[in-house]
Structure formats: C-alpha cells, structure tokens
C-alpha cells in the first residue's frame, strides 16, 4: 500500500539560533516496517520526528506521506495518518481526565460522540488502562502516563505510529508492558530511543543518527551488534548482546 509510505528527501533543518540539527537526511520507510532511530543525546532524533510530523518545517528538502508532500495545507490530513507520541507525556496530556485526553484527537476530527466513545475505549483497552479513564492525567504514575499518552494517539487510528523515547523513565515491568504493546502493533512504527534492547526487540530496521546525519541504515540485528559503529556514535552494544559472549560470537 503505497499510501503508507513515508519518505524524507534531502531534509535539512536549523533551529532559529543557527544550530544545524538535521543535515541532508534521506530515507524511505515502507508499509508495515518497524524502524528504530537511535543516536546519542542531541543527535537530532526528536528534531527529525518533528520534521516528519510537520511540527517543524525543513529548511530544505521535503517529507512525503504516501504521495502527499507535508505542507501547511496538507497538514490536517497528514496528522490524521501520523500519530506522534511525545518524549514527555506531560506535554501530551493536558485535559482534565484521561478519557477527555484520549478523545481530544477524534473530537478534533469531528467524529460523532458515539464513535469517539468507541475509539477511546478501544484505545484504552489496547494499552491496558480502561480503569483509569476518569482519573486526572497529572495524578498518574510515570508508566500510566506513558500508556495514556500512547492511547491518545491510538484513538486517532493512525497508519503510522511515531514515538519518541517510549520507554524512558519506566520501571522494568512498565517497560516490558510498553515493549509488548509496541510488538503487538501492526502499524508502521518509527521509534526513537537510546534503549537499544527495546529497539532490538521491537524493530527490524535501524537508523543510526550522528550529528544530524544518518550514520548507518540497515537491519537491526546487524547494526546493533556492530560495536565499532555504535561506539563511534556515542552508543554501546545492547545489554542483551553484551551479556553473553557465546551469542555475540555467534552473531558477530
């Protein structure tokens, strides 16, 4: 299905203060792919995701969703198809109840309240927090907030799911839940993270970003076991690969 394709062509972006955060990035992500975007702090991951979702516009180059170019005009349609989960759930949850927060997106698209309700409950079920629907988002725990912020995006039924650090700040159990959740999605997924073990589990393809450029793009298993590459990008081998000499020999 070509309309689920996401393509970046020669993207460059500088922040207003002159800092060049993205330099000439190109790639193409196809329907159903799961792509991890990894890189050190400040490599430009969050900036790249914002460019993809049209929250920032590139200085040069373009982003295509399907065959549609991301511009101010096409944004409303594009945003319905790209669901973005922000790095900090506190930025994403701003209504007075979890229910209203999850309903925010669908209501903005003018769905009738019955369908909104169905979508909300479905999204809450998927992330396993239907019991929290009447709670105030700012009173939830970190993991619950994360689940809620994922639900706010799922309720829009996007074709492509984009997440910034979905496992940051979670305890092992909550992290595990989020990983299982991500694995269960059949959407096209783009996940930016330092949690390389999570990326290894949830993504088949990996893009390594270094100083705003793509340092490597390829099969997850191959790149995530390349100690030299990861080291040069300010990263380390995933623990699951480090821990067992037999396995790393076997793979390497």
């Amino acid at each position: 299905m070509s309309h689920h394709r996401l393509e970046a062509r020669d993207l460059s972006f500088s922040y207003p203060d002159g800092h060049e955060a993205i330099k000439n990035i190109s790639f193409c992500i196809h329907h159903g792919e799961s792509v991890g975007i990894i890189g050190a702090n400040g490599a430009g991951k969050s900036t790249l995701l914002m460019l993809l979702t049209g929250l920032l516009f590139p200085g040069s180059g373009e982003v295509l969703v399907g065959d549609v170019r991301v511009t101010k005009k096409t944004l409303p349609m594009i945003r319905q198809r790209l669901g973005m989960v922000f790095q900090d759930p506190d930025d994403q949850l701003f209504m007075t109840t979890v229910y209203d927060d999850v309903a925010f997106g669908p209501r903005n698209y003018g769905l009738d309240e019955k369908e909104v309700g169905e979508r909300v409950m479905k999204a809450l079920d998927m992330v396993g927090i239907p019991h929290l629907k009447d709670r105030a988002p700012y009173k939830l725990s970190g993991g619950e907030k994360r689940a809620a912020s994922i639900a706010t995006v799922l309720s829009m039924q996007p074709d492509i799911l984009i997440m910034d650090e979905p496992t940051a700040g979670l305890d092992p159990k909550s992290r595990r839940k989020v990983i299982e959740l991500l694995k269960s999605f059949e959407h096209t997924k783009i996940i930016a993270s330092h949690d390389l073990d999570m990326v290894l589990e949830t993504c088949k393809r990996v893009m390594v970003i270094r100083d705003g450029q793509v340092a490597a793009d390829g099969e997850a298993l191959k790149l995530l076991t390349d100690a030299k590459l990861l080291d040069s990008c300010g990263l380390e081998l995933p623990l699951s690969v480090q821990g067992c000499p037999v396995c790393s020999n076997h793979i390497g």
Binding site: M50, D91, T96, E113
Partner: protein, 307 residues
C-alpha cells in the same frame, strides 16, 4: 550551620514519627522533609488551578447549559457592580445567588472560599484607602466614622460576590465548555483560544515554578524561599522554561488536529430547563436591583411593629 540544624529540628518536631532522629542533623531526613514540604506546596498549586475538575460532577446545576450559566453570571456581575458606593443593604439580597448555587451544585464551599481568600488582598487593597480619603462622616453607636468605611465595606462585598460568582461559574461549567459558550455568543475564535491557552499555560507556569523551587530548595538547605541573589536567573529561567513547555504542549495539541475550535462532544441544544434557569435568575436580579428588598422587609417589620 547552626541555623540549618535548628531548621531540621523544627521540621522534624512537626513530624511525629521522626522525633527520635530530630536531635542530630541527618541530611537524608532533611532532604526527605524538604521533598515532602515542597511536594505539598506543589499540590496546593495543582488544587488551585484545577478548579475545573469540580466541573466533572453531575448535579442539576452542572447540567444546565453552559451558555445559560455564562449569561446568568454576566447578569449577576452587571447587577452587583451597578450598585452605588453607599448602597449596602441592597447588595445583601444578592448573596442568595451564590448560596443557592453552592447548595444545588454540591461544590464544597471551602474549595471556593480558599481561592477567594487568595484574591482577597487585591480586593482589600482596592478599598482600604477609602476610609482615609473620604471627608464626610456618619455616626454609628456614638462613634464618628468616615463614610469611607461604608464604601470600603461595599467594595469588599461586591468583590466577594463577583469573584465567588466567577469561580462558581468555572467550577460548575469547566473551562472547555465555557469556551464553547463564548463561541456560541459569537466571541471571535482567536479570543476564546487565547483564554483557553492562557488557562492551560498558567498551570504549565506554576508547575515549572514548583519544579524549580524544589530543585533550588534541595541544593540550598536551611534557606527560606529563594535568595534575592538568585531571583534574576530564577525568573529568567522560569520564563524560558515555561515558554518552551507551552510550545511543546501547543505542538502536542496541533499534532492531534487541534485548530482552535474544540468540540466537547456533548449535546449542546438549549432546552426549556436552561431557558427557565436563565430567565428565572435574570428576573430575580432585576427585582433585587430595582427594589431594596432588605430595606422593604425592614420597613414592613417596623410598620407591623408600630400597628
């Protein structure tokens, strides 16, 4: 050093379980207590801001159409503020409105009164100079007083009434529905959006204050408040940080298709009940404004007593 030891002592004595440890300064305890202190400060911020959480209750008042409630509140404000500066007895009738709303909406009075107290310095500040400046006098129980005291009292009453009415409107309606009502009245979208975002960003701002204060307090034990030397950078940081966060919240809203008009997803038809609510109160305010009801009752009483 001594000062901080005393501080620890004081904090711990307040906290019964740790009284044994109070005799020696223990940084771990200090930190924990500070965290508790700061956390409670943060909590009260939340509670003040999240007044519209009360709007989720479901009572007869909550169910009234937001537009009807908005118009009634506006009528109330107009009626109350149109009273002359020496007219106190006429104002008293208007207490009937907030009291009725309190009772019917089951809003805990404390939640509104606390916020009223918070604003009260402002109201007192507006009226406090009147007793000094007004030259006319009157006699009460043999004491000569400036008429400024009457003006002062009337400002206090008006202030309390109007602020309470506004708070009750938010508490029984909620910001989002209020915004809808304003839109229905034809207020331009840009102003309504401004109002909504301001409201949202106030909480962003205070959250940042709470966070920074916490970070500051943990690194400046035994110090009350923020030292004047740090005020400049504190304020600067605060503005930059809240600006950043406000921007991220705005991005998150836009990413989910927000364009300025928010659909609450509720039945928005104006029912007979809403119309009755609206016209009932407006009739009451008109009567209370035109006739001096307490004075009238008073004169009936004296007439009855005489005859």
């Amino acid at each position: 050093m001594l000062k901080s030891t005393q501080d620890i002592h004081r904090i711990d004595i307040n906290n019964r379980e740790t009284q044994g440890a109070a005799l020696q300064p223990c940084p771990k305890n200090l930190n924990r207590d500070l965290i508790l202190l700061m956390a409670s400060a943060g909590d009260s911020f939340y509670n003040i801001l999240h007044l519209d959480e009360l709007a989720r209750m479901d009572t007869s008042i909550h169910r009234v159409h937001p537009l009807a409630k908005l118009l009634v509140t506006v009528a109330f404000l107009v009626a109350v503020s149109s009273f002359g500066r020496y007219d106190i007895s006429g104002l008293l009738t208007f207490f009937f409105y907030p009291v009725t709303i309190f009772v019917l909406s089951e809003i805990p009075a404390a939640s509104i009164l606390k916020r009223l107290l918070l604003i009260s310095p402002l109201i007192v500040g507006m009226g406090i100079l009147n007793p000094l400046f007004e030259r006319q006098t009157f006699i009460l129980g043999g004491v000569v007083l400036s008429t400024g005291w009457i003006t002062f009292l009337s400002i206090l009453i008006k202030g309390a009434l109007t602020v309470t009415a506004a708070l009750l409107l938010v508490a029984t309606t909620g910001m989002d529905r209020l915004a809808r009502a304003l839109r229905m009245l034809g207020v331009p979208r840009i102003f309504v959006l401004q109002l909504l975002l301001t409201y949202r960003y106030i909480s962003v701002l205070t959250e940042e204050v709470a966070r920074m204060q916490r970070a500051y307090a943990l690194r400046a034990p035994g110090q009350r408040g923020v030292h004047t030397r740090a005020w400049g950078s504190f304020a600067g940081q605060l503005i930059l940080r809240s600006f950043d966060r406000a921007q991220r919240v705005w991005q998150a809203m836009r990413a989910r298709g927000f364009t300025g008009d928010y659909n609450i997803g509720e039945d928005t038809r104006f029912k007979f009940r809403d119309f009755a609510y609206l016209s009932g109160w407006i009739f009451f305010f008109a009567v209370a404004r035109i006739f001096d009801v307490p004075g009238f009752i008073g004169s009936i009483m004296t007439w009855l007593a005489k005859h």
